[in-house]
Symmetry: C2
Subunit: 527 residues, 2 copies
């Protein structure tokens, strides 16, 4: 929770800078990093219903850039507006409100370049891929723990510690608590004022709920992890009724959430998990809610929606990337790549079944199979997301509650992440998409050839013609994606045109392979 | 070519009924079948440029139904307007024109129910499938002969005779002639007045070109074959310039074509072949051209566009079904089904490589491979289209010129067509789309299980739970899709729930299979 001790407190990523609203600070003018959080907090009315009655926003200006961010009521008479500056420089601000004591506050603050390891929010880049705002490539290696931040201590801290030691740079998490079958105990925090399970005043938010969410999103940010925040889900099952609120309440909730979280650079908006399993909303509702999010978010954080059986029309302009549940597409890169073309947007396979040992068919993949699916997604120019449903002594499943990871896949996904960290900034794309589906890269420069379940003993050095010319030279590494080894192949391979479609090593050489599964080749141009 | 011998001639599917415009016929009031062609022809001005100067349309009324069809100038002073009545009854018409002699002609005609084997135009039905307007299911088994109707006699007649003996009920054909590399001879007919290769007056159509096209579309109709008419293509290569006309000419051409052809019930509009290879048009052009077609066609004939590397946004409302070129999607039903979900429209894989023996990798599939792809498409709930590039004594390729078919796939596609003719009207849909990708049908009623390249020796009778209940009974046929045999399996199989996902034969029986490739099972409910 952020401190609020005076009429105007400006907090920068948790650091409170206290200035007077009527005599702007001169010596101690606040500073904030680019893509950090600049926060104005003011005290205002507590009578009536501040959530409904008070309009409050901030206008932030640097040169010709003007950005308006909605503020929000944070309880106990405190109103805040948060701002994520996307350019360095000396910014000015002014508050606007229908309440005199919140209106007309002005000031200046300085935005400094970001510190090391702080690259800004993630954006779509090169059509099918992602990069941080500073241009640093971002290769999603996500995981899923829908309910983790509702678990209270010590489990939440344990989850964070697990994540800190993991390869994961994104986590899918629901805002609303997930009702587990048979569960009757109530949680410490709910999003609305009232009495569980159903005695809610939907016109009054519970700030403590959102403060806790913000703390966790901030914790993830500090670990370098994107928070793929799921706004709605079908897992309430009517217990608390958050899955069947009136449209006006949905809209208000979305605007409130966005006004609180949008300044966190690591936030992504996932409109729903298994959206089509929400039987109380239509596709028109989702269209509308996407637009509410887009209108409320001044920064254009990534927006997606995750499907059950029915895939949303991801061609809609308010969808930044496809978030796909599909239990079979990533069994084959030739399947995985197909969704790219239809939307010309990045595709993240956010649910591909989980490494686990439960009886549900979505929860009993071997680690080998899950890692196989990640590699298929990779060479298809797409991305995959991890989940774990291994039952264990704790009785918890990571994918619901967080906690600890017991599986064998995370170490291999760390290996994949290291491979990606050395791959082209332009991303891995299919090279010859309808011919050689297990080959991705950038033509003429970089190739990943993944053999998956095949255990070849050798590979003839031949590549599709795209981007190639006689005399180009390449080096090769043999990657064992399960045993996590990289073995350089002796020699340099020089290509010559072989036929209308292919270039081959001019010496016609084979590359020896160990005859095991899960092998890949990395082929890189030698300049 | 349609006769025009008096001032007003009304032609019904080639039958001229001559009436006086000032004294409406009483005894000999014209009749036309439902979904036939009612045509009004009038003589009018020949001065100026009739294609640009004269507006001419017909308004057709039955009760509350009012339909306006654009007329067209057919040369030699003759103006026509054609109408495809979609309801039986006594219709009235009136002509409208900015030219007095074409304006204000009125009359009546009677539309009778359609004759046998005449089912009306094909529409989308059950989201992913097709049916004729009278409800009769239509299962596309198409072929491709882009240039066939530009080949003159005797080849065009030979093509029609070949089609009459084939399983094909759809053909893809380009309006514009296809330039073959090295070709320098000129054709008998071009769409515009002028001198080839480039001396065109784009403001004047050549009616004889379109009359010949109509004749061929009518010939196809009489054979029960849908004409998937391709409005634009990238195969001109600048020779005649039909691939790079100004947008206003494109629009006028489209409206003229549609005004002539829309009354043919067997017409489909394919906006382009390999649309993205037309380097002189943008995606916005295609959006516009789709809308020009839709606005000009009173009957809503099927509309699609066929891709090269870039897939069009088939979610657009003016696209009725996806027309896909993809050389690998139909290698695996798990790939083929993916496009269905993204657009929730029928998917026809209109180019899947061809049965052939040329060096191009798109033209050298074995017949077995092509038939395999059709069956994969089928169990995935989609459709495929045939092409043949077998070089032979004639030196022609069917897929360009038509002529004769030499391949082994058509007979097997005839077998597939017979199987489909006995399948549910609701179509073949994936039963458990992300689990058992080679199983299509209607849950609880009808299943096609295709083994493709696997040569199993037996199959354990187990089906996904959807639509099943304890005690349901099924009969089974073994289909050899290559040898074209149907072998009933002895006995009736009664299912019981086996686990959360599966029902199985209560006796746990296996069905013996011959251990060959290309086998399928047909499983049908016994009521």
């Amino acid at each position: 929770m952020r401190p609020f001790r005076q009429q105007l407190a400006i907090c920068v990523a948790g650091l409170a800078l206290l200035i007077s609203p009527v005599r702007p600070a001169i010596a101690a003018e606040p500073t904030v990093e680019q893509w950090g959080i600049f926060e104005i907090s003011l005290t205002g009315p507590t009578n009536g219903n501040p959530f409904l009655d008070v309009q409050f926003s901030g206008r932030f200006q640097l040169g010709d850039t003007n950005i308006t961010a909605d503020g929000f009521y944070d309880g106990a008479g405190v109103y805040r507006v948060r701002f994520m500056p996307e350019q360095p420089g000396r910014w000015q601000y002014a508050t606007h409100s229908n309440v005199p004591e919140l209106d007309g506050h002005t000031g200046e603050f300085t935005v400094t370049p970001p510190s090391a390891n702080h690259h800004g929010p993630v954006r779509v880049c090169y059509t099918y891929h992602f990069a941080y705002a500073d241009g640093t490539p971002y290769w999603p290696i996500g995981t899923t723990a829908y309910n983790w931040w509702h678990m209270a201590e010590p489990l939440e801290a344990e989850t964070l510690a697990t994540l800190a030691d993991s390869p994961f740079n994104k986590i899918r998490m629901c805002v609303f608590p997930k009702h587990e079958p048979g569960q009757t105990n109530e949680l410490a925090l709910y999003p609305f004022e009232g009495t569980p399970p159903k005695g809610w005043d939907f016109s009054r938010f519970n700030p403590a709920f959102f403060q806790h969410l913000e703390q966790r999103v901030g914790d993830l940010r500090d670990l370098g992890i994107e928070a793929d925040v799921i706004l709605f889900d079908p897992y309430d099952k009517g217990r608390w009724g958050f899955d069947r609120m009136p449209p006006a309440v949905d809209d208000r909730y979305v605007r409130y959430l966005v006004s609180r979280l949008a300044a966190y650079r690591n936030v992504w908006w996932s409109l729903s998990n298994e959206y089509d399993f929400n039987k109380n909303k239509t596709e028109a509702d989702w269209d509308r809610l996407f637009q509410v999010v887009a209108a409320a978010d001044p920064y254009g954080h990534l927006r997606s929606i995750h499907n059950g059986f029915l895939i949303y029309n991801n061609a809609q302009p308010w969808v930044t990337h496809a978030s796909i549940q599909n239990g079979s597409a990533v069994e084959d890169p030739g399947r995985a790549e197909l969704y790219r073309d239809v939307w010309r947007k990045p595709v993240i396979y956010d649910e591909i079944k989980y490494e686990g040992n439960i009886s549900k068919r979505w929860g009993n993949l071997s680690a080998q199979e899950l890692v196989f699916r990640f590699w298929n997604a990779t060479v298809a120019g797409t991305y995959a997301t991890h989940g774990e449903t291994l039952t264990n002594a704790s009785g918890r499943l990571w994918t619901s509650d967080g906690g600890q990871l017991y599986g064998q896949s995370p170490a291999r996904l760390a290996f994949l992440r290291r491979v990606l960290a050395d791959s082209p900034a332009a991303g891995i794309d299919p090279i010859d998409k309808w011919q050689e589906v297990n080959l991705g890269g950038q033509p003429g420069e970089y190739y990943l050839l993944y053999f998956g379940k095949d255990p070849p003993a050798h590979w003839r050095f031949e590549l599709p013609k795209f981007g190639l010319a006689d005399g180009m030279k390449f080096k090769v590494d043999v990657l064992d994606t399960w045993n996590m080894t990289v073995t350089p192949v002796d020699g340099v391979f020089t290509v010559r045109k072989k036929d209308d479609y292919t270039f081959a090593d001019e010496q016609g050489r084979d590359i020896p392979l160990p005859g095991r599964q899960w092998m890949a080749l990395r082929i890189q141009r030698v300049h």
